[in-house]
């Protein structure tokens, strides 16, 4: 399994991660080794298996779609990076 540095850079972009050139180099080598082990999955005979995990479950799990008010808003907001009033502050996304 040949993995190029460009592949790793592309995957990093999808995953919203940034790496240094050195890290990209290292990840490329590790990916090769891990993915070549993963090739073992090609040797298995899986042609006639239906992969639907839930095919044998009898019923769907549903619940009523009801509003529940969270009691202590302060506790909820204490984890946000930046607040203005009851709004979470983020960088401008519309120009």
């Amino acid at each position: 399994m040949k993995i190029s540095k460009d592949d790793v850079v592309y995957i990093a972009k999808l995953a919203k991660l940034r790496f240094s050139d050195e890290e990209i180099e290292k990840l490329t080598v590790e990916f090769e080794s891990i993915l070549s082990h993963f090739q073992s999955i090609d040797r298995m005979d899986l042609d006639n298996v239906d992969p639907d995990e839930f095919a044998d479950r009898r019923e769907s799990v549903l619940r009523a779609d009801e509003n529940v008010t969270f009691g202590d808003k302060e506790k909820l907001f204490q984890n946000a990076g930046s607040m203005r009033g009851t709004f979470i502050q983020v960088p401008r996304i519309l120009e």
Binding site: L14, A15, L27, E30, I34, L35, P51, E53, N79, G81
Partner: protein, 492 residues
């Protein structure tokens, strides 16, 4: 190290299990506050050396203990875990108590609610005594991937305690708590239990609510207990299990209520399968011989043991890492630095905020798994990896169901290797992944399994044995584990 126990009124009181603590507290022999204070002292005295805890809940534990004492004084019936201190893996949400997943991402995260298991423990008057170290986001097999500290194995402090629930296992093994909770996605309760010489139970998928467990691989994750004895695991399971509408994968059928009450029953006639694939190349010879000795002991108790072949059992590693990494990449997409979690100091736009947040706050192994998972799910590779892995999973489930048509349990070693030295394997991710080969099929199939100590190596390192049952087969898993524990009578 493991010989010392907490002191109560100046005397070393030895190991106390749940029944002893509960009856002592309920009967007024000692108070919940005394028990809690004693274990807090023990943690303070020992944990600088072991490093099992990320947070010690001294104040809140004292308040909980006081409330339990008042409840008993007022004549109310004490809960089933009255006064029992429990350590909690730091990926289980505790209201008002920092819950970090051992990650910089959640270094300052204070959950505004309790996980269902925490509510259940507290409603039975247990004391939440601290939060334990782990591999970051439960990704790892040695607890070396914590962003905050290394946890040492109390049996040999130059060695790892296993992982990812290494803090919980080390805390129990060192006697700093009687019981703890961990989580198991591919062996993260059973393998550290084996490495530290204690008991660890991974319940059937769905038996214990995952509400409030910070997600890693949602189709694999399960919360379970770690303890010194099989009986304590059974008593803990009775409390933490149960249907929960806040977890849509929660089991909706009938629950067994009395696991502990069944212990001590004979296991004569029990049919046990041993998988040939578990004794292939790569298994440490001392582990093989210790597990074989336990097989003979079980036969002497009247169980029948057959060696069988389950070809799929040896192939689980690749599908497991594909599925768990794919689920992790999806689950961890929520960490964007906006609503909670680490936010970088400087950023110019929303993309930079997200990318810097994730790149600066996630550790190497977490990033590696997110990358692997993103790759496996990406266009052009999905069919080759993720879909084939799901097919394997179905095949494995079918093959295992066939085994359980004929047998009550499957037996094997928990880990192919003895506890290794700190730093010995951390440079090679694939080597680390290979150590999970015996535990992962249990999660892929959603089965219950327990690891119990079955012997010691020549160097005195613990060896763990795994018993796997059919779905909701906890009663027979615990019953057989208890019978073997009583037969072996290991002095650990």
């Amino acid at each position: 190290m493991s010989g010392g126990y907490a002191k109560l009124n100046g005397t070393d009181c030895g190991f106390m299990g749940i029944r002893e603590i509960r009856s002592g507290v309920a009967g007024g022999k000692y108070s919940a506050s005394e028990i809690t204070g004693m274990y807090i002292e023990k943690i303070k005295a020992m944990d600088d050396e072991i490093g099992a805890f990320l947070t010690i809940c001294e104040e809140s534990a004292a308040e909980q203990a006081k409330a339990v004492d008042e409840k008993i004084r007022s004549g109310k019936e004490p809960g089933r875990l009255a006064g029992v201190p429990v350590a909690i893996k730091d990926n289980i949400c505790t209201d008002g108590i920092r819950t970090t997943c051992a990650s910089r991402m959640l270094e300052n995260f204070i959950p505004p609610y309790n996980a269902t298991v925490i509510e259940k423990l507290m409603s039975e008057d247990a004391i939440i005594i601290g939060k334990t170290n782990m591999d970051e986001f439960a990704m790892g097999s040695s607890t070396e991937n914590s962003a905050f500290k290394i946890t040492k194995n109390p049996r040999d402090t130059s060695r790892v305690p296993g992982g990812s629930s290494g803090g919980s296992a080390a805390a129990v093994a060192a006697g700093m708590v009687p019981v703890a909770l961990g989580s198991d996605t591919g062996g993260s309760i059973r393998q550290p239990a084996a490495f530290c010489g204690i008991v660890g139970l991974k319940p059937t998928y769905g038996l214990v609510s995952r509400y409030g467990l910070i997600a890693f691989g949602s189709s694999l994750d399960q919360i379970g207990p770690l303890s010194k004895t099989v009986e304590d695991c059974a008593l803990m399971l009775e409390v933490i299990q149960g249907r929960d509408d806040r977890d849509s994968t929660s089991y909706r059928g009938e629950y067994h209520q009395d696991y502990a009450g069944r212990l001590g029953r004979e296991i004569k006639g029990l049919k046990i399968a041993v998988l040939k694939e578990y004794f292939a190349d790569g298994l440490d010879s001392e582990i093989a011989s210790s597990v074989n000795d336990s097989i003979r002991r079980l036969e002497s108790l009247g169980a029948s043991v057959d060696e069988i072949s389950l070809p799929a059992a040896g192939d689980g590693l690749a599908p497991y890492y594909i599925i768990s990494s794919a689920e992790a990449s999806s689950n961890l997409a929520r960490y964007d630095g906006i609503r909670y979690g680490y936010r970088p100091k400087e950023y110019s736009d929303i993309d930079e905020l997200m990318e810097k947040s994730r790149s600066e706050a996630f550790g190497t192994e977490v990033k590696r798994r997110i990358m692997l998972g993103t790759y496996a799910l990406s266009s052009g590779y999905y069919d080759a990896y993720y879909k084939r892995a799901q097919k394997y999973r179905k095949l494995l489930r079918n093959q295992l169901a066939g085994v359980f048509d004929r047998y009550d349990l499957i037996l094997g070693p928990t880990s192919p290797v003895l506890p290794f030295k700190i730093g010995e394997r951390s440079g090679d991710p694939l080597q680390m992944y290979l150590a999970d080969v015996y535990t992962i099929i249990v999660n892929l199939a959603g089965l219950p399994a327990i690891s119990i100590p079955c012997g010691l190596s020549r160097d005195g390192l613990p060896i763990g044995l795994q018993l796997i049952g059919p779905h909701y087969g906890e009663p027979v898993v615990l019953q057989a584990a208890y019978a073997l524990e009583q037969e072996l009578k290991l002095e650990l």
